[in-house]
Amino acid sequence: MYKKIVLSSIITAMYLIPANTQFLSDDLRIGGYARNYTGVLTGGGSELSILQNTFNLNFSQRGEKISFKVNPYLYQYFDNEIELGLREAYLDMYFTNFDLRIGRQQIIWGKAEGVFITDIVSPKDLREFLLPDFDEIRMGVTALKLNYYFGMSTIEAVWSPVFTPTLMPEQGSIWRPEMDFPAPAEFDHSLSEIDPSLENSDVFLRYSAMTPGIDFELVGGYFWYDDPALHMEREFDPETMQLSGLTVRPQYHRVSMAGGSFSTPAGPFLLRGEGAYYTGRYFQTEDPSVTGAVVSKDNLHYMAGVDYTLAGVTMSAQFIQEYILDYDRAIRNDEFESTMTFLARKDYFREKLWVELFSYIGLNHGDALVRPKVTYAFTDGFEVLGGANIFLGDKGRFGQYSDNDMVYVKVKYSF
């Protein structure tokens, strides 16, 4: 079904192009990349964690008044499973002071790197946790986007009538998050569907400004939260009155969010900050008196970061924290959850060799994800990347994957 939608979208776009050739002055541009991605788990029997061939294409044409872009991709896995999709497929219309973009598109907000705070529009593909490139983690969303420009400011309004949830790892995947249920659980997805409708639309608004000395954004949204709340119904043995089972019903909820971000240079440093206030989020609770085992709480999510370059080494550090307001001790999440990220990166041989170390560190559980990588560009557009993903700790967001340490190679040709 999805493939049909993809193909029909491409065909539709192709028909649209000739109809507007008077506006499309440039030639059709075709680019993209082909890539092999092979990863091996380092524990035990050196199993393949992934063997993926990727073919990513970009078709675009730009005119004075209108342009379009179609970005189909194809993943082929070692078990010959093929996934075909559209990362983006949209039409742009340009006016004097505003633009309209209609179609499937990636919309990225905020100043944080590697974390999602006010970056709320494009849903995430977490089937391989946070390991893929970020343009592959962020999925396109079907939306109408209006950008209005005045001075150095932009107002961006987004309306999305189609809810797209976070894509989670399938049952059996090594990236499936730990779910610690007190009794055998059965999933009931009957309440997981959000029908496309005007009433179920997501709406987002952003004001942004690029000024001498500082950039900032103010954002807000009323939307379906991309991750489901796990409503649980307990079943008891009538004889022993002991908990005998659970029915888990993933359910999406409306949330409101308001926030902002900034980045500003300070001497040799670049300072970045970002924060968001959410209302209507649901958290799991162990309080037996709570129906459904979830409670609604407001929460804050914020980040402070700094970038610095010393002796050719680009360094970056971020402190990220989530805070649940009006906290109840029965809530399974911590009241404060703190994470740090670090990046160091340097190039050698006139930008032919890149060495990088990036890490997430979970401060609550003392866990971490450490990601060293080396990239060598044999020629322009052709590079080989070798790296490792090392999970430290035994619990927490990163420690739960302590059996998934891996080394990998990516061979990529861009054209």
Binding site: E113, N147, M152, S208, R350, E351, D380, S414
Partner: protein
């Protein structure tokens, strides 16, 4: 990967954008007061180093000029209010292997601020990337932004790093930027003729002892105050690089450098820059230098 690309690009573009070509100051290059003067700036400077013909004709008078005066005349050459053009940069290593980068650039002088934007056209893995730099006459730090297509957003970057190399070339930020003549002591050491062109030879020594070069030697053509050649010496006084003008012309009323070559003699590596489709004072609109345009591409 996202972060890798972003950070990588930050480093790549740092050099490019903040470089100064120092040709005014040295006779060959227009050096500016801020070492981190934008790469684009420099490139434009190189592409659009111009002088008034009136200045050029006074050979007898100029023969009596001091090194400082010559460098100031080079520095103050008019260059137009806006410049656009295509830059093709070829990196050649000691094995003769070549890597080619193509960029489209725009620059506009607003009096108190100079805005520049460049769009990366090739190679394929950087196509669609854009970089914007605003530099201020009052000496404030430059504002710099980069747009990476994979990130789908414009990101502000630090403008520090004047000694970094631009896109793997033999030009540093500082080489590509404007270096003000007052930053060096200049001495007229003699006169030579290169390829039939009479030149002054000027040795420039930085007042800041921590500067990346211990001295530079510049050959300035007498008939037009264009720098024809410049030698750079490292912090140990050894010959490091030589910059040579290969071609220049009169475009839209301004003398413009069209082709240059920087050779690192210590590493036997060469960067060749060729400027084409250069247009000066054609009225680049203000909307060219906006976030909107960075994301849409040129």
């Amino acid at each position: 990967m996202l972060i890798k690309i972003m950070e990588g690009f930050k480093m790549k573009t740092n050099n490019l954008i903040t470089g100064n070509m120092n040709w005014k100051d040295a006779g060959l290059f227009n050096a500016g007061p801020k070492a981190k003067l934008q790469v684009v700036n420099q490139i434009f400077l190189m592409a659009a180093l111009m002088f008034s013909l009136g200045l050029l004709s006074s050979q007898n008078v100029s023969a009596q000029l001091s090194g400082q005066e010559i460098m100031e005349r080079v520095y103050h050459n008019p260059s137009g209010d806006d410049v656009e053009g295509r830059l093709t940069m070829t990196l050649i290593n000691r094995q003769g292997e070549r890597r080619v980068r193509n960029l489209q650039q725009y620059k506009k002088d607003y009096g108190d601020v100079e805005k520049k934007i460049m769009f990366f056209l090739s190679p394929a893995d950087v196509q669609g990337t854009s970089f914007m730099n605003w530099s201020y006459v009052d000496g404030s730090d430059d504002d710099q932004w980069i747009y990476l297509p994979a990130l789908r957003r414009v990101r502000r970057i630090s403008s520090d790093g004047k000694g970094d190399y631009f896109m793997g070339s033999d030009f540093t930020y500082d080489d590509l930027g404007e270096r003000h003549p007052d930053e060096d002591n200049h001495k007229l050491t003699g006169e030579e003729t290169i390829d039939g062109k009479a030149c002054w030879v000027i040795e420039s020594t930085p007042k800041d002892t921590d500067y990346m070069y211990s001295r530079t030697v510049t050959w300035v053509m007498k008939d037009n105050y264009l720098g024809l050649k410049r030698e750079f010496y490292d912090d140990r006084g050894r010959h490091l690089k030589t910059l040579t003008i290969k071609d220049y012309g009169h475009i839209d009323g301004f003398w413009t450098i069209l082709e240059t070559e920087m050779k690192n003699v210590q590493r036997d590596h060469t960067t060749h820059m060729k400027f084409s489709d250069v247009k000066i004072n054609q009225g680049i609109p203000d909307r060219m230098f906006t976030e909107r345009n960075m994301m849409l591409g040129q």
